[in-house]
Symmetry: D3
Subunit: 300 residues, 6 copies
């Protein structure tokens, strides 16, 4: 086993100030020239208390983002769950207090962040647990198929759900895909070229589309081999081949393409180290939640 089995999800740390800027840009888009409703309806010096409440079961994520956004707007809050905690319907996630107009003008941006991230974390956790229950240590990874512009948030949510964020973006790993191979000519040439020119700081992964190329890739020195659109049967053959050639356990195997919650365990059973799914981040079901005003106090 060349991958740790204690993996819980790697998270990228951003100081609150830096995260704040990303969140404020989201809020600014929603505000346009300003919230016209809150100003019409809510008195100027009105304080309110509000709660973010889960409306279905799942895994909380985006709680840190929520607190950073609230703090940057001068609102007070208390969190009742932390990222990664399981939540039940009607459970209060965060209590907020402060200027009522500000609370109402950030409500939707806040919920959009927390419910999307929680939806991603929930789906990831579900799949990870299914695989664990079936007795496998296989890692569940996402891809770069996120909502456009949301790489940080989508990848962080996968990590919170216990998944592997995989390559974060285009600068942190070499991943040679079918289109690269189409240009350079062969898996072997691609891997040898990359290994010959790459910084020592980076791993080299290559995507292969048939069983023979798995061995080619391993011999050429790939650190990770992505079995693209393989059937479980083909994975089995690839593993056999690698074992025979003495590469199994030395090179990481990632199964990718057409993997779903339903068939994921079959792939895990064949001995790949990682299963990756685009759907975890490109086809998200947001976790249902709402923000409710629970107390109001107009200041004189």
């Amino acid at each position: 086993m060349i991958l740790s089995s204690t993996f819980k999800g790697e998270i990228m740390f951003l100081p609150r100030k830096v995260l704040e800027e990303k969140l404020n840009r989201m809020l600014a888009e929603d505000l346009g020239l300003g919230d016209v409703t809150s100003n019409l309806i809510v008195p100027e010096h009105c304080n309110a208390e509000a709660e973010i409440i889960a409306k279905e079961e799942g895994v909380a994520a985006g709680i840190e983002e929520a607190t950073v956004l609230l703090e940057s707007l001068g609102l007070n809050f208390e969190t009742y769950v932390k990222d990664g905690d399981e939540v039940k319907p009607k459970q209060v996630l965060v209590k907020i207090s402060g200027d009522a107009r500000t609370i109402l003008s950030v409500e939707r941006t806040l919920l959009n962040i927390v419910s999307r991230m929680s939806g991603i974390a929930t789906a990831t956790r579900k799949l990870v647990e299914k695989i664990r229950k079936a007795g496998y240590k296989t890692r569940v990874a996402c891809t770069r198929k996120t909502a456009p512009g949301l790489l940080y948030f989508d990848k962080k949510a996968v990590s919170i759900g216990g998944g592997d964020p995989h390559r974060l973006h285009l600068d942190d790993m070499v991943l040679i895909k079918d289109n690269h191979i189409a240009i350079i000519g062969s898996v072997e040439k691609a891997v040898r070229t990359a290994k010959g020119k790459v910084s020592f700081s980076k791993k080299v992964e290559v995507e292969v589309s048939n069983v023979n190329d798995v061995l080619v890739a391993a011999k050429a020195g790939a650190d990770i081999i992505m079995l693209d659109n393989f059937t479980p049967k083909q994975v089995e053959e690839a593993v056999k081949l690698l074992k025979k050639a003495g590469f199994f356990g030395k090179v990481l195997l990632e199964a990718s393409g057409k993997i779903t919650t339903d068939n994921a365990v079959e792939f895990a059973a064949e001995g790949v180290n990682i299963i990756s799914l685009g759907g975890i981040t490109h086809s998200v079901k947001a976790l249902d939640m709402s923000l409710e005003i629970v107390k109001v106090k107009v200041q004189k």
Copy 2:
């Protein structure tokens, strides 16, 4: 009938230059300090031709965004579908040619945009057609429950699918929600206050949670009434009440909350003008598509 039945989806026009800046920011996030793979594998003066190909049936959206992004990067392209066209599996949407490294470094950002927008347009179109087939003119609208930061893209995709983008953000309409009413005290006071202070340029919509408040809202002068979490039965009662009081056909009715593809027709049948669903934009299934390099030419 106070809403046009010829509606095809209102779209917000952005000059290409302004759109380009939004798209470049998305690309920049994915690039980080740069694409390390393309540089290792692809020769410097290499030209390529590539195709964006649909892998499932649906409605194309994001094609304009794709062309703006490609043009801003100095790539050539020809489009084979336009936004709103139906696409079949294996259909080529866009042919691209130009610097191979640039094509490969924008591939994922491009696909993330087009496949998300197409997924939203597809789901919207499906629901609109279901309602039309059942014989109703009811409009399908989205909400502000989009992916955070993607208001423009998600709303435009809904429009392309034949839906109504609804309020675009917080500055273009007054929408008094439950939390506003919790603060000001009653539906009546909320509507009267808003109507008394609002710019003549804006409509006033109010969310009500019970049948009685529908009449209150209409009497207070609301332009649009949102029936929140009503059952079809409750909608029926509300309509009856409004007819009796002479408001039906003068105030717009929007049903919202717990509406799904399955039960949408039942709401349409009760005579509401608009059905709105958060799920169209917060729980998107991306339309599957890929980018394939089809020709390569290294320049000497």
Copy 3:
């Protein structure tokens, strides 16, 4: 009467954090690489108290902006008037205390904001009162003819002065102007096309240049009709026509073009709901005010 007569001016609400970013950008332009004078003259740990003082009579506006900017720079302040209050010559608007260099380096940006906004609010209030004194409820609105880039500030100042901000920018209302009609062919076609495709969330206004088109526009379903460059006489005819056809009181009438402080009452007298003037925001007379250091304390 289809427009509320209790109107006091609708204001767009921006959380302080979001407003702060707009203000800081203004300050940064004035600073360039830094204030060279304050550093040369003012000792490093010098605290000062300063006052913003009105030098002529008018309506205060921009006070909120001033406090947001001061707070973001770490300066303390006490406000002696709030937005919309009338001020007299020599009246203190805001007292400021804190780091002297910071106060001096923000002085001009601060005054530029407050004096421009107050100038706009003052002119608006004056016109509104003139019309009220003449016994009319007609609303005074501005246009999008603001200083470039200052839409938010100029529109907010109009609201503070008791005016209607009108359409905020290009996304919050449909306003079909002469150039649109030149392209599509006729007022009727323009209005019918817009009504057929527009989101239910938006009003449709159309600009007409002759009395006949007023009726055409009303029949085609316009929510608001802009009488462009009409004489009071022509307005009278238009109103007569609409009354006869039963549209008066159902469609809003806005008089626009060549309206000045001098002739505004004549238009109001003819029964239009709104009078709009570009000059309120494109030809502003700033309200004279200054910032005076009143106390200095160098820290050891």
Copy 4:
């Protein structure tokens, strides 16, 4: 005479690309999520020709800005006047052709820029000529009392009108004002301190409020002395004093404060080198102009 009498107005050069970014930011604010009207009314592949037409007499300014903005949006144009030219009512300033939706969505931003800048240039030119006709070479300068955020545009417009832009912002000159003197204690100490610590690359100006301080400032080594709120009589005394002490013609004199178009010549007559007025930029009357569509062609 220590100031050139051939002065025509110094202009700051910005490469078009850098100017483009400032202009695009203004446009983006006006667009919000997009122009909803143009999309509803104007067909997709519609080309139009349009003209920017002066509606009153004045001096053109902002023409360069207009061309940079039009070019960045992919529109074609021909200019019929250049910055600084005099224009008559009905004169065509710029002809534009290209995508009709784009033209209409930039119309207002374009006019706001050109009409404000032309208004400033016109007022400046008028005052400069009045002074020249009276036989004086005195320079007319503006201050930093511009519309907030428009330093570049307002100062450039003054230059186009033949005025002196004065200090551009806080980093390009030392200007010791009353508040600085209040902190450091005296004009003499202020000037000596500044001269002792300032970079050799910068001039030092000081504001004085009484005749005696003029001599103090000159002796302390000020390069320029601002006579703040002096009457013409007081200016006369100051000049006398300087002549007697041998400083006249060696230090520049700037009259500032309470100077208007009406009394400016009186100050010029007393021999100051520069007259500066805040009103040229803080209380602008925009030059009236409009954009008219003159031809339309829908592409098949």
Copy 5:
């Protein structure tokens, strides 16, 4: 040997558009409100030809950046060297033609970029060749000790000089430094924790400060071990220990700290795979070059 000996320097690919934005920001800072000199001296429609000329021997870098910046400003150019080429004194690197004011206003920004990057590439190449001449394949790497904000440019210049850019920033590799170990307690615990939680996509490097910890790190599973401030003698011992334990050739060794051009070969001789030096990027000697106008043509 576990690191390729054909390494020539890995480069991060940025599409020209994305690079352009970084470069324009640098230019904008230098311009402030505009270049006052060029406008005073250079006529408006003046074209010029200019050359960037090396004034000393070295390795060219920043040529791509120069062309991107020139192109974005609408200037024409021809390049006579490409990144990585050796240049001699008086050699022309780039010929530029176009608007003279634009050329002069970008001159300094352009030279600052090219001369800094060339200086870095030159120093890197010199050290790489020294090591090659001594018969070693050891890689020369830089660190994150760049000029603040210039990570991309400094790292790219190192690559052009034949060096390894090492970790690009904080998200692309795990590098456990002394301060991390101070917090977690031991090298062993640090490496085990990281390996247990890290994404499969990333390598784990650890900094050790004594010979014993080298073996600890290797046993704990580190991919790369940084020998911090080791003497050549200590490196020798570490290698011996690793060989005995069977880890040599399986884990990468990086020598870092107090390595200079003078002693680098001694470290190479001991068998480390990588030598890294902060000084290559934090203490740069810019390569001397200038821009000369060679032809001028004023357009009528």
Copy 6:
């Protein structure tokens, strides 16, 4: 003597908020999608104390920048030196406490800023003192040859070291260089043109390449003459010529080009007012320093 001999270095004042934005942008580049190491190794609620420690002798600079950055990240700090103080090896400059992950993720950006600025200040101070010891009052100035994008930081560091920041960027002074003269034809025409059109607020400097042009420049009215690439001998001649013609002591003389620490005194000896060197900012030797964690406390 026309330049003050009490000069200590002019500094541009930026309010902390404005400075913060520049610093946060630097930090954001280094973070990418986040610091993966700190998150893996450092517990979530871990507080640490750290020290920035000098490792060699020099002049501290960047201390203000460090405190602004630390404060913006919510970290506490105590400074033990202020900008301009001399520091010894092992001396603690700043003590920091707060969230350990945040400290570690800002460590490198912080050190990059402080060590570069201190390196510049140290070199400047050394040269200033050498000249003072030789008995001359000549000022040491830098140029615009900074690291690209670091104008503010590099110039401020020069000032802290006792140097003159010279022209800050392209908008604060007229500096006619060889290329400008190549275009306009002669030194005389260049100076006369500039003096005739320049704002009264700015000085005019001209670069001359031979002794005769020095007199030409002085007669034409230049405020400052830059003797470019003159030998000390040529400077001597120029001074003689100016004395004879009565200009010496009335026009400032700046020697520039090929001046080094070694020969600077020779130039000073010839009576120039200013010596400027590009190398102070384009070829910086960073001052060695490090950040050490000295205490750790994990919160329960």
